[in-house]
């Protein structure tokens, strides 16, 4: 009984959320839609960190760099070979996964601070490579334009028969056409932002669903075992080195997807889109989410997106100078990171659960 419950994949739930998001996207302002895209990107990127750090116990400060790998792969393939968008995203996942595999092999020999420092060096070093290879376009980077099917009908058409993903896109497309022709009064007209949101949200749902199921699989359990006690896990027959590399690879692939989506929402790929601060933000998001609670990613992502707005309001209230205003978001992100680690170290969801468990335990013991 218990087992079958654990193994349910919650597919209907994810589909339901998708439908709700789709409907919602037609009735909210453009600004919110584009913020929705950013949230979706963060959801993907943060879940990759949760998988890596929360479950396999490895810290990466280089996920910004892995996202960059994905983004560049997608953009270059799009520009140089005019590959269908969907394939560009797949390529982003693969390219970053390969990067993650290499990094993971180095990482498997390291732990804790060594790993963090190594990935930090990567995060600082890798973007500078953009200046080394002309195909990457130097400081300005390269453009990565993804428009709704009206703008580029042939591309999506070509992609359609290829995958399940393509099919979903075309279904969405048809739905949208019926909506746009007035079948659904009150819906906002089609826009690039909305299109981006759909892609990002769909990708986020698919990633979350995948990550969730990976974490509940035998792999997920072996990671948790290794995190708890490497020696014990080895004795139990788990190849901890291989399972760590695998975690790194999967996590990197997911980060690559997030990178490509981020590039899509900006329209270009350049080194400046993947600063060290991005890696830090993701870590903050993961810590805010609760490093082991996948469900928390939504909280983490929304907070990350909301911080600049909150900072704006605060700065306005205080009537502070410009240099304060522009640096307040950074201060809040970092300050929040510290405060969370200190006072809600295992995340709000986990904290609540622990408190409830404690409460119940106290109850049952007094009864006894």
């Amino acid at each position: 009984m218990h087992k079958s419950k654990k193994q349910s994949t919650h597919l209907p739930l994810f589909i339901l959320v998708g439908v709700v998001l789709f409907i919602l996207s037609n009735f909210i302002e453009e600004l919110r839609v584009s913020q929705g895209t950013t949230i979706a990107v963060y959801v993907i990127a943060i879940s990759s960190i949760i998988l890596l750090t929360g479950y396999s116990g490895q810290v990466s400060l280089g996920h910004g760099a892995l996202m960059a790998i994905g983004a560049y792969a997608a953009a270059v393939l799009r520009l140089e070979f005019n590959l269908p968008i969907i394939l560009c995203f797949v390529a982003a996942v693969l390219a970053a996964a390969i990067g993650g595999l290499l990094l993971g092999m180095a990482a498997a020999r390291l732990s804790g601070p060594y790993l963090a420092g190594t990935t930090l060096a990567l995060a600082i070093g890798l973007p500078s490579l953009a200046n080394q290879f002309p195909i990457l376009g130097g400081e300005q980077g390269r453009e990565f334009k993804v428009g709704p099917p009206d703008f580029e009908p042939e591309v999506v058409a070509a992609a359609e028969p290829l995958t399940f993903f393509g099919n979903v896109l075309s279904i969405l497309d048809k739905l949208q056409t019926t909506l746009a022709t007035g079948a659904w009064p009150g819906a906002s007209p089609m826009s690039t932002y909305k299109w981006w949101f759909w892609i990002a949200a769909l990708a986020a749902l698919i990633s979350m669903w995948t990550v969730r199921n990976i974490l509940n699989s035998a792999y997920g359990r072996s990671w948790r075992a290794g995190r708890g006690n490497e020696v014990a896990a080895q004795l139990a027959g788990i190849n901890t080195a291989r399972s760590k590399v695998l975690a790194f690879t999967i996590s990197a692939g997911i980060a690559g997807l997030a990178g490509a989506l981020l590039a899509m929402s900006i329209g270009t790929v350049s080194p400046s889109a993947f600063p060290l601060a991005l890696s830090f933000s993701l870590l903050t998001g993961a810590v805010l989410a609760g490093i082991t609670t996948l469900g928390g990613v939504i909280i983490g992502s929304v907070i990350l997106v909301a911080i600049p707005e909150i900072a704006d309001v605060v700065a306005h209230r205080l009537g502070s100078s410009e240099s304060v205003t522009t640096n307040l978001p950074g201060l809040i992100v970092s300050g929040l990171l510290i405060l969370t680690v200190l006072f809600v170290p295992n995340g709000p969801v986990e904290q609540h659960r622990a408190r409830k468990a404690k409460h119940e335990a106290a109850h049952s013991s007094t009864k006894k």
Binding site: V59, N131, R227, I338, P345
Partner: protein, 301 residues
Amino acid sequence: MQLLNTLLIGITAGSIYSLMAIAFVLVWRSTRVVNFAQAGMALLSTYFGYEAVSRLGSFWIALPVAMIGGAIFAALVELILMRLLVKHASSGPIAGVAPIIATLGLLGVIKSVVTMIWGGQDLRIVAPISNNGFTINGETLVFSPLKLLVLVVVMVLLIMLSILFQKTNLGLALRASAHAPEIARLSGVRVDAVRTLGWALAGAAGAVAGLFQTVNGNGNFSPDSIEFSLLLVSGFIAAVIGGLDSLLGAVLGGLFLGISISFVLMYVSSGLFFIAPFVILLIVLFVRPQGIIGVKAGRRA
């Protein structure tokens, strides 16, 4: 000539990395934390130094001011942040990553606050002596009086530090607390205070590294200077090369890194400035995972 030049430049840069590496090692030894905020502290201390230079007009006053400022700040961080961390986040899945996350957060806080106070624009610290290269046989080197000065000051500081560690009771307390805190306590060492002192020394070392990195460059610096990211990464890598637990290792690691980078830039490509340290680190990790001096258990601890 070219060779000598490359070597000297490498040694100068390396001696600065050594200082930064020493800062990492001191903190690691006293609290088993890799302090990613070290670069932020160096940055803040550099601003202290800048204030001293612009008020009092002398680099030689600015240096100790920056060192003392850096030491006090680092001590406060240990007293407040690190102790809270030990109290609140030393169990559960977060325990292994909490110090990393907290020091990264601190790095962000320092950077934001520094920018709020001093602004994001470039400021300038004028070097005390000329950075124009020496001329030998009519040929002008990149190696300059300033670089020589940096080298000499760093060496003097290193010697003072090694006397402190090897010849004084305080040094004995520092080493005992690093290797076996419980035995140190049973011998009457106030380990908590010694930890704070370890951080303070690291803060001072980082302050010198920050100031010298600035004047050894073009004298300009800002919160976003890539110089400080470089200092962070190079210092960390140098410490790792040295085994993270050894002061001598940190010095050798810094020199090794500085010289290697200098040669790569000169003879391979000058565009590899930022990726070179990473590649060198990977090579070291694969070839000698215990570092130059490090002993067996090191890296997985």
